[in-house]
Symmetry: C2
Subunit: 455 residues, 2 copies
């Protein structure tokens, strides 16, 4: 442990991480996250931006290879499989999130790891160990870069590049020194700006694709002797110096090997922006507990953190399914109407007259307690006024999908089946076969395809 050189400490941790060092519950959670990611990657199949990235991969990359492009069931080299699968993973907004770092690890870590594991014929244990390395590194880099970074930069793009480098680096068995160089190459490529949100542009898929691909490239280059900056994270002209004003280097090495940040990662339950989830769960609690019907609701006040207002506030009258996922009123309307805000509900009903009417009943209000707890905890609080004059309060301390309120393996399978069905990414039979593979991946001597190849 070198307190004066946190990049080196973190790189050494990632390089030296062994399967045996990781507690069994963390490994089981890694399998949960892998299965959950697999569904998300298939859900992006019909996304136009995803298809554009796949077209680019076909134009520039090899038409054959051991690495699986999930949405098109073809093989290519790891770089292109990682890029396309990563683009696809983040499309349906159903992939996992780590609250404290506001980082979506699965979308960048698993695409890179799976592609390289398939190409190098790695074992399932190696795949899992590498994935844990990627989560632990990426989450700490996200926490290190802090809230000032997230105001301008998409942390999943930036920290995600280092996460992918760590994961692939572990799979390629980099030495600690090589891993540090891989971090250097990854950090100097790290990018991703929020500006695209203003135009609802396609950059989110590009950010995950590039984080996975660039991180992968960094690890391969390091394995070939290519060097990078030794202090790319904390150095005077490194990532934090350029892209953060509140970076805290102590976060980079916070309880390495004791605190498993992977196990803090949340599953997304609703098919909407994560900032809507706490209020959605709190409303569902009120609706269920008091057996309310939609028509009985006169108004809903969602008591939220500032970040929710920043991200969701601009969306008043959503024009697309994707935009509706960032509309608090729409999400709460779907919850009130259907008891669920899944991909299907959004697709068929986001602009249903009943939902549009409900939207107007919803307001967001900054709440001191909720805001102070964020981002470590995402508390949900709503006040519901009924048409017969009652005022009902709902509260959840951990939204559905958070570690203390997690999804069971059965719930995860159901979610993945819905995601696969949504874009016709795979049949239920194919999914069931893949589930079997994933639940027992630690026993696989060689990681193969998750789905049958296409024609």
């Amino acid at each position: 442990m070198n307190d004066d050189h946190p990049s080196a400490t973190l790189a050494a941790f990632a390089a030296k991480l062994r399967f045996e060092d990781i507690p069994a519950p963390v490994m089981r959670r890694a399998e949960d996250l892998l299965l959950d990611w697999f569904g998300s990657a298939l859900a992006g199949k019909t996304g136009r931006p995803v298809q554009a990235i796949e077209s680019f991969a076909r134009l520039m990359g090899p038409a054959e290879g051991k690495s699986e492009v999930l949405i098109s069931r073809r093989g290519t080299t790891p770089l292109f499989a990682a890029m396309v699968n990563a683009a696809s993973s983040h499309f349906a907004e159903q992939d996992d999130v780590h609250n404290g770092s506001v980082f979506h690890p699965a979308a960048v870590v698993f695409p890179a790891v799976l592609a390289v594991a398939q190409a190098t014929e790695a074992s399932g244990r190696d795949l899992l160990t590498a994935s844990v390395a990627g989560y632990e590194v990426g989450i700490r880099v996200g926490e290190f870069l802090g809230r000032s970074h997230y105001r301008i930069f998409h942390t999943t793009g930036t920290a995600g590049t280092v996460a992918a480098a760590a994961a692939v680096g572990r799979l390629l068995k980099l030495t600690p020194e090589q891993m540090l160089h891989a971090f250097g190459s990854a950090g100097t490529q790290a990018a991703g700006l929020w500006e695209f949100l203003r135009d609802a542009a396609d950059s989110k898929q590009l950010h995950t694709a590039k984080a996975a691909g660039d991180g992968l490239m960094s690890a391969y280059l390091a394995s070939d002797g290519f060097t990078g900056a030794r202090r790319i994270l904390e150095g005077k002209q490194g990532m934090a110096a350029g892209m953060s004003s509140d970076a805290d280097p102590a976060r980079l090495t916070d309880r390495l090997g004791e605190r498993w940040t992977l196990a803090e990662t949340s599953f997304k339950f609703h098919a909407s922006c994560r900032h809507t989830h706490p209020a959605a769960d709190a409303l569902l609690q009120v609706m269920t507990r008091h057996e309310l019907r939609t028509e009985q609701v006169a108004s809903v006040t969602a008591h939220v953190h500032q970040g929710a207002i920043d991200v969701l506030g601009p969306v008043v009258n959503p024009q697309t399914v994707h935009q509706a996922k960032f509309s608090m009123g729409t999400v709460l309307g779907l919850i009130a109407q259907f008891g669920s805000a899944g991909l299907q509900e959004f697709e068929t009903a986001y602009n249903d007259p009943r939902i549009a009417a409900f939207r107007k009943k919803v307001t967001m209000k900054l709440d001191g307690e909720v805001d102070t707890a964020y981002p470590a905890r995402w508390i949900g609080k709503v006040t519901v006024a009924t048409t017969d004059g009652r005022v009902l309060e709902g509260r959840v301390d951990e939204p559905k999908g958070d570690p203390g309120n997690t999804l069971s393996r059965d719930e995860l399978e159901q979610k993945a089946l819905r995601l696969a069905a949504f874009g016709a990414g795979a049949t239920a039979l194919e999914m069931r076969a893949a589930f079997e593979r994933i639940w027992h991946i630690a026993d696989e001597p060689v990681v193969g395809n998750l789905l049958p190849r296409g024609d």
Copy 2:
């Protein structure tokens, strides 16, 4: 012209630029820059970091294609040819530079343009027009991002990504709207941190490779309908917001179509970091004028701008040839000893005891006049104290290679021959044939290979 939306104005300029709109002297200078770049691209042939990127390209990319990898004389797809050629171009530190933006356009623009021109069978005129578009856009983006950006970020990596997108976008005949989306995708991928300099790491080659490749990808995606942020440069969460504190949007559209920034670009004469060149020329003047020998020099004070101190200051005791190119003391030592700081001098003598001894005699000092003039003008000023007690002043107002002190076509050919010979990148005969092609490229109906293919 839309003053309120400079990204759109600049994108429209790049998309609409026609061969006929570009003055003949600018076109001739574009040919000069192309030839100068070609030599630089070959000079990187033996560079270990370049070879690592080429190995990665072989591992991940197709083994066939119309686009030429100059150092290995093989064909592949445009993405990989652009990346490898761009990595190679920046290795010998002999590629061109635009003073005002501190941006090296050739290393990112020509690799992307040549690769795509070969793949799409574009004409020589289209290649030149696209190259001009890339220079004009990239230089203005670099000027826009300003000095605060350059303190942390390698402008050739960041602005270079947008430059490559503009150039390839022009070649792919993007509409102004598509070009704006290409800018959006390029800007959100833009990266490159100076931290690597402290360790003499290999990131510089990675930055140019990725700028060329990522810009190319942005343009291809835009041609396929992929959208990006409409104000990636000047928006509230765009490049300047994230990576600059002194950005000036007026620079983005400064005299478009009237001021040709390509013609302001300087050729590099010495084989070192450009920040050393003014002082090198000033010292050469003193050594020549007073017929001094190295041993007669007691001390040299180089009066420099702050940027020189930022970039060169950390390099006290260079450990590699590459790092020596960022050592003011080494460069001035080679000038004093050999009258020249070329590739050969660096390779054979950067750590010669005489040079190491001279290094200790050199100090840099911030100079108000030089710093104020920078980056528009790079004034060279040195004070030399001799062992016999004289104090001699040297001064050059335009270093060799600047537009007012440029290289002739014969000097450019001689330089390119030296660069090609350095890494055995091509024979003199092959170079002469390529020169003929380049000097007449505006007449070529289809851009083909510049060199014969390998086995």
